[in-house]
Symmetry: D2
Subunit: 366 residues, 4 copies
């Protein structure tokens, strides 16, 4: 398939530009018989939508989703589910000035040279607006994973710029605009963001996602490993520059006697693997971390060139997130869900008959 | 396709177990008319093969490759190229004792529960031996990339356990068994490895790969981005736990005014992007880093369980690399090459007619 | 990818049910820079839409298409093109009576057993209404093929039930509601259809499609042959039960001395191959024929069973085509176009550098 | 994936040329735990191998298959199964004379123009020798289908040139070199073939394949229908020019009251559908027919051109089947098996949870 589809048996095909008529996707391969309504999807979209706090873009989009197909009398039918989100707040004039200019850190230069034409309005196809589609498709995936296998997918912001955010509780995540698992640190985050916004600059962030209750056995070595497909899915999110599974880059300095998770009759003693061994889920929590680069659109003047190759100074005064990482948590969760359901289906297809009398041990021993 | 194939137009399908009759692959989609002989492939295989220094496994494999198809009168025909490497040094008795035991950090437990059966000899399918196949296929990809587009792909070890390795020169890489781009530091690395080996433990490493002269325009957003496919390919390598593109996790603490690479008429002023913007190559160097976990097979006793679920102590006395990262550089280079050629072909297919009068600027200004 | 997508580099993903909110598709991989408007697509949709004569269903659908993405300032951008067609005339009450009954010849029984749930309204996903989507996507493919390579794709009805239709001229095809390449025979066809409609029965048909000016070299052996992919695409059309390339089943009784098309410096002397040898286009006309079964929905009573397994008599009084073949010509043309553009792109990707000094001979010598 | 792979979850990747070192394939996705030995595969290969009667090519190939991977202690492990068949009887000199000539009916001309280079020895990649690989892979598929679902796949020659072969019994098929389901007609077939061989000409044939006990529900509409994928797989066989499912082209003249298979509580009353409705298996026998063109290599002189475009006369005196259809039955069976197992796995993946209380009716009522 071409580049706008992800997944094999559960296949999501995305379309739409930031300032076009609409964005949306086709979700093909969702198992039949699952209760599904726009509410299930809208709830996830609302978690990522813009304008919910002063720390994110003020673009006004209700991100109202319409289910066009694949659901009958409230249940999925096994047919492709098409989701449509109309764009509402298209202030294209904000972007007219970039029609002939390549903004540093953006895809302007690469899209232009690849395609010879680009929809420059708000970044067009390369806009983070496309991630709303991922969240919508992910909502379907996570609902099925939860109902069918009890898989719980959650994420949080683990670092905002220089501020590391110690994990306190899952409950905290929904109680602040940063998806921080820690309420005490929120004032510090707000102060930091307010100063950052005033300075006209932007900053990066680190997001962590976890999937609990994933059965052992999901993943298709040697290339379509669960962790490899997850790396692909997470790196495909706008602005992501790094992906870690479990211990990630800490593995570099670890000894084998530390990293290798020991097994006992009652469970694993640690989870440096992040729930994946040999590309297959272990039954422990799936844990991944991503690095998100700072927003490229900033008010501070930057050197660039125009189409003619002449030097220009670029200052971006549109509506932008000073830290795109703030809204990235639901997106990362969605990609994790999409990868997991696809592998759940693939595993059932090839290994539906496998019966193992060996006891399956629990996840990490608390 | 199923899990043992990578790539779309340039598709590599891998097969083989560590102690089976042979390993190999089918490379489908290689452009026709390229001069190709076993020497081209053998040269790369020899860079990764075991037994070349005291710091790697002493298993003796000549890794002699045979081209079974797809080459006629010394040139590729466009037909699938099948590569065969017979296994030679199969001391399976080394592994008999693990038939009923799940080694910590290995895929024993997951393969068993996924498939209900596993070839336990030397890890079977999950063995790093499979990476020889990647190097062989990658040799074909890199040769074409170099001859057709002048793309140069190189890699090096950037960190061995706690020892960061400052980059000095590319020439140094081939002059030591660690692929270190720095000869002064080699004695320190050797001392460290000798002590590590004596201790019976293992350690992780960090590998960096670079592709020069990649044209602007390769990559298929929004999912099959060049960096997303690269993350998939690199994470699919045994023992890899993290992938970074360009600045990677340093992006978390960077400001937008620092990270965003400025453009000038004579080139980019920096390359934090690692040569990819919006999932498409910029014309700058493609730069990626991977984290490799410590070898799971160590002499030190580890807690585990057997198939019956009973606790056991595992000590591994077979022939193993105390640091799998030492031989990982050619593998990472190969995966980068495989991803690049696939995207080169896909880009030509969709965008062959694109003509842009805008000047293409140089890579990073020195 | 899952079952609702067709094509590799030019990938069409279809969605929608007969009586759902809408039908549509995402066309991913269309080359950038092509002028495209809804008029280009609407023109093809109007050729297949219902209610255009007394010989087809009277369901009223304007089949108005909306382009949601992938086109900017009148040109394709290389991004996915989403097409949306709202359903208008949904008289679902026509179908309430079949909710619990399996209609003979329909997919009711198979969808029910496969998915455990089905949108029975008008056949839901299995309705021929989905073919409108194929025509819309095909319109994009054929426009590009014509503009870029001069490929002309046309089709006609070659047989209606027992009446064989001798080919007279391409001009005739658009001058009658049957797509017959022969105006003299139209009165006979109309008389036959009027009697058939009165009888409450239905009948099959044979459609032929031709692509002219296809360059030599398109097709990817040994499985993704041009003719194999074409057989797949044509057989995927509702009600198609047979596919022939060139001489087709006449080849069974032919001698090699008759079938094998001889070559001369000025061209081939015949075209029994139908423009494909070894799965690759020859430069001659691509010729295919398809058999379309009679409409399954008829007024005559038929034996069947209900969900409980009880015998029932089924009489269908909804709005149906007495011969679905009558509207099948534009659909078959569209599938041919979709297969050709995909192979054009794939061929360019792998073989863009091929230069052959051997003269390319003309198609069939007149 | 590229053109040499078929199937999604059960994926076969083929390689090899007629006169290269070897032919073979990688079978990826075979479910684990199935007993498999070379005997299982060899038995099928022997059914299609050359030199078994005077009516087929006298090329001597033992077609001895080696299993290189994916089988451990006599059982499949779920890992890719690589199969290798060394070429033995490569009398390339037979073919030297065609290095610069394009043989009518062969792929010489198309391969040359597509790739700019071709392995002309015995047709190279386009040789029917590649079909041995299909039979080998198909042997694995059919064994699993039989053991897991009781699916029985059989085929026969239904027509040899002008001679239609009435079906008498399955037992007869293995008792004659033509795979004719009718022993009485064998003398007529032999006489016809002897005369044909003397004449230096060749002829076409028609092959029919049947799969019994296929459960209802296999097939992935709207494109990856069971019949569409079957059409693709069968048309991809060398020399096939037509594919029919069930009534096939007879559907053209049938009335709906005749074609539509009625249902009763005890089963269907007919099977014009050929076991597929809406692209999904009905539980009836899957029935397909293919048209095979006459062998292109004949002794009679034929007009052609050489690479320089000059007219030449071609007479082929190598070792060839006067009717390639004679050995095609095992190949068609294999392709049917490969398509069925892939859809079995895909269906299990998406619909494993479907439970339908509606009774499944029997196949065709005798």
């Amino acid at each position: 398939m071409s580049g706008s589809s992800i997944g094999n048996l559960f296949c999501v095909t995305s379309f739409g530009e930031s300032h076009g008529a609409a964005i949306g996707c086709v979700v093909d391969g969702c198992p039949p018989g699952m209760v599904l309504s726009t509410d299930d999807i809208q709830a996830e979209l609302d978690r990522r939508k813009p304008g919910t706090s002063r720390h994110v873009t003020q673009r006004r989009e209700s991100d109202t989703v319409e289910i066009l197909s694949g659901v009958f009398e409230g249940k999925t039918t096994g047919a492709p589910i098409a989701l449509l989100i109309r764009n509402e707040d298209q202030r294209s004039k904000d972007y007219g000035n970039i029609a002939d200019t390549f903004r540093p850190g953006h895809a302007d230069y690469t899209y232009w040279h690849k395609y010879g034409i680009r929809d420059y309005r708000g970044g067009g196809r390369s806009s983070a607006r496309e991630t709303a589609v991922r969240v919508a498709a992910g909502a379907i995936a996570r609902k099925w994973l939860l109902e069918r296998y009890g898989v719980v997918i959650r994420g949080y912001m683990s670092q905002l710029g220089p501020i590391e955010i110690p994990f306190k509780s899952w409950d905290a995540v929904s109680e602040n605009p940063f998806f921080a698992p820690n309420t005490e640190i929120v004032p510090e985050l707000e102060t930091y963001m307010d100063q950052l916004r005033k300075s006209g600059d932007s900053v990066g962030a680190k997001i962590s996602v976890v999937a609990e209750n994933v059965p052992v056995g999901w993943g298709e070595p040697v290339y379509d490993r669960l962790d490899a497909d997850l790396a692909y899915a997470l790196m495909s999110i706008n602005a992501v520059k790094g992906v870690e599974i479990g211990a990630g880059f800490d593995s570099v300095t670890q000894k084998g006697s530390e990293h290798g998770d020991e097994l006992t009759p009652v469970g694993f003693l640690s989870n440096h693997a992040g729930g994946v061994l040999g590309g297959i889920s272990t039954g422990q929590d799936i844990i991944a971390h991503i690095a998100i680069k700072p927003t490229s659109s900033i008010r501070l003047p930057r050197n660039s060139i125009d189409k003619a190759g002449n030097p220009v100074l670029v200052e971006t005064h549109g509506r932008h997130d000073p830290c795109v990482g703030i809204r990235a948590t639901p997106i990362a969760e969605a990609m994790l869900a999409i990868v997991l359901i696809d592998h759940a289906l693939r595993h059932r297809g090839q290994c539906a008959d496998v019966v193992v009398d060996t006891p399956r041990i629990a996840g990490k021993v608390k």
